[in-house]
Amino acid sequence: MGNTHISLPALSAKIYKEWYPKTVLVQSCDDAFEGELNLETRELDIPVYHDLSIHLTTLKEAELKPAPIEFVKASVKRVTIDKGRYAHWGQTEVGRLVERLSAEDSEVRKKLVNKWAIEAEKELAIWCAKLPAAQTIDLVTALTDASTNANGHLTSDNVMQALDILKAHAIAKDMEPSEFKLFTSEKFESILRDSKLVLASVSADETFKTGSIGVVNGVDIRRHFVADITTRNSTTHVVEAEWGIWKTRDGIQYVVPYKNTVSYDLSPEQVLMGGKGYQTVEYYDFFNLYPTRLYKVKIRYSGTANAPTVFS
């Protein structure tokens, strides 16, 4: 059986399956969607949760009053997928690049997968850093103390206070703080280590996930690797300020509803002896359907540095 027709979509599936676990932010998002992507309209349904109402009654009445039925299945939000990423490559008739890429230990695919993971992570982090003021928690202002901490630095002495502030934001909006996770740079982790706090582990499964640091003061903390949302010292490159991300799983809906590899012939004018061109493509997009479940956190570690406002 000639299996080229299955090996191409299988290759796309393999790339997707491999880049996804390499991410920290992307992996922490809700990736549920319903139905099949309509390639013409690019529309997709995303399930919307937490929309069931609780009705109050009194026991004296000894009966539950009928309330309007709410259909869970009907609660979907139709979105338009607007982003795509692709890799473009070819092979001559002599080479067999598809087989090499599909092989379990393919070095070429590893490089491709790493690049896709980095791109996805970076785009999502910058998008979070551009959230509006209403979705900002300013720890610099909150930690400022005229006598002891004039610049509002986050240090090993006030890190617990900072975590309490984050939890308080969730509680104030009637949400459960344990649903939230904090995503920060390596600097935050080093401050936690300096404070000699006990880092509890979440679960064996979670501990081995990329970026997992542990649970401190009831807050699950993850380390991301996106330098673009940090301000670093020009000499030492140590983080001086950054945007942290405080979110629940459904704070961001990150969907990849279509991934494929297509092939086409290359003429001998393009490549000596002719050959095959390939394009691995993914359509994706991300959304914030619940604004109260996603925040950017302004953090300062030293001097008067500010989290970046301009992104490349």
Binding site: M1, N3, S7, S12, Y20, A32, P257
Partner: protein, 230 residues
């Protein structure tokens, strides 16, 4: 300095002028000579002839215009008549071709029904997806040979060139597990997808979610390895 006339003299002049206007002197009648009379008569006759000619010419032009208009009207009516006739003919021809197609469909249905009776073991839905068979049929269908005869000759042709016999390939029992002795080489291991399943998965795979991909991943890898070795 101009010399002015005496008032009396001026009045007299005016009076003469007025009289001359009121009582014009009759022009002296001149008697026509014979030659002049003849000339006048000739002129009269000439004018009469020219008037006659002009009337004749106008009548002729009018007749020509009328004739032309009539010819045009006739040509138009003829063209309309022809167009109408042509439309009717086309409608009739269309009806005839529709009938012809209907007859062809009926005939083909009859031939396929006969084929089903003669070869009940053949899965006709699979057979019609065979592009080689479709190409083989091209131009032969509804000709001298029936569908059954065409299938049998195609079967013989494939056997002759050493291909997989369509009778075996499209047998309804082909997918079912058979006895160990028969079909020994074509049975699939239980933990790999069939070729049809692989094709279906290939079409669906670009739209699968991560969770769906996880579910099929192991079996798919086994299947790919199996078909690669084959």
């Amino acid at each position: 300095m101009t010399e002015e006339k005496a008032p009396l003299e001026t009045e007299k002049d005016d009076l003469d002028f007025i009289n001359s206007l009121l009582n014009p002197e009759p022009e002296p009648e001149t008697e026509m000579t014979d030659a002049e009379k003849a000339e006048a008569e000739a002129l009269k006759k000439k004018n009469a002839v020219e008037a006659q000619k002009r009337r004749e010419r106008e009548a002729k032009e009018k007749a020509e215009i009328e004739k032309k208009a009539k010819a045009e009207a006739e040509a138009k009516a003829k063209a309309e008549q022809e167009a109408k006739q042509k439309t009717e003919e086309e409608t009739r021809a269309k009806g005839e071709s529709g009938n012809q197609r209907e007859n062809q469909v009926t005939e083909l249905a009859k031939q396929i029904a006969d084929f089903r009776i003669k070869h009940p073991e053949i899965d006709i839905e699979k057979l019609q997806k065979d592009t080689n068979f479709t190409e083989y049929l091209s131009g032969k269908l509804l000709g001298k040979k029936t569908f059954t005869e065409l299938f049998e000759s195609y079967n013989a042709f494939v056997n002759r060139i050493g291909g997989v016999s369509p009778k075996e390939q499209y047998s309804k029992n082909a997918d079912k597990p058979s006895s160990k002795s028969a079909n020994k080489g074509t049975t699939l291991p239980e933990d790999v997808y069939t070729e049809e399943e692989m094709e279906r998965i290939a079409r669906k795979m670009p739209f699968m979610s991560r969770q769906e991909l996880e579910k099929i991943n192991e079996k798919l890898n086994r299947s790919l390895a199996y078909y690669n070795k084959k």
